[in-house]
Amino acid sequence: MDITRRRLLVLLPAAAVAWKFVLAGTPEASPNYQLTEHWWGMLIDIPKCIGCGSCVRACAEENDVPEGYYRTWIERYHVADWKIERPEVESPDGGKQGFPPHADEGGKNFFVPKLCNHCAESPCTQVCPVGATFVTPDGVVLVDKSYCLGCRYCVQACPYGCRFINPKTHTAEKCTLCYHRITKGLTTACCEVCPTGARQLADLKNPKDPIHEFLRTHTVQVLKPHMATGAKVFYNGMDGSVR
């Protein structure tokens, strides 16, 4: 069974009413969602990823992501023998249509989904000159597209390459962890459609969330730990060749 956040169908109308408060700009007044009760992250289980691209397509559909830009993408790694520092990586159209068939070329081959790591000490928010990108009290890094200047400093500052400039709005854009879904008790679009459970939304502040047990019992990493970004996307079974 998938391990994802659920709300019973009956609570959805109540949530809709509660969003009147959110729309007024005071989410903490909403009876259902309290900003301070959550600290969002994600768990990516690499041995489970089959590179089907469902997550990339779902994200594009859920969030109107423009063609040629990616809020999430999948990389295919081929590590020949011991050449851990020099993997061959490809990501055709971000993996949106899956990957072309590969004959078995030996070595080690696997898929790595990537997205914004929603860093707790985010370098992109540090450099934003006006406060258009920020970390919410519940741990999601968002962009205020009505305030963003489009200076692109945040795109330069992100070590993971997860940001881009939307060609229509001319503002910075990236994965929002489907903020409009997770605050309604749904899971992210990418986690919803992942057929193998390789991607799972995690609430690090919820003691009942299985992420805690998982982190204790598995070998997990974050991307580029030497950057000390406080990344909150955890990768299980990640090979040392992953860049």
Binding site: R6, W19, F99
Partner: protein
Amino acid sequence: MNLFKDIEHLIRLAAVIAIALVAFVILRAAVVPRSFGQYGHYRGAAIGEMASRPVAFAGHDTCEACHTDVVDQKELGKHVVVACEACHGALAKHADDPGSVQPGKLDTAVVCARCHEANSAKPKGFPQVATADHSGGLACDICHQSHRPKIETEGKK
């Protein structure tokens, strides 16, 4: 008083600077959005705005509330873990108004291949085939029932 005369130009300059500063403060009070600084150095109202965006994917719980027959089928096989919209696409609009928005028929040759086309990077235990050899280009649902994909050698399909 002589000194005053000799620094008169500097006093005028200081006055110009003071006026500019006051104008700036007034401008700031008028233009900066009200909710700025509410939670941090950003426009607090942005959180609510982002949260109130409409959803495109209904989530499989919503689908399962109506389509219980499909749920029964899926529970018998491996696809029980696959969310409905992973294959059928985003259908929140259909869930809101089932009559007016109908999901389209899927082209199984495309949809199934995304997951099940053989690729050396896929986990070894995951069911994958080279579709050219496996079915010679035939649509997958000619032999397989998508919601319960395993072909039973005895009993009903």
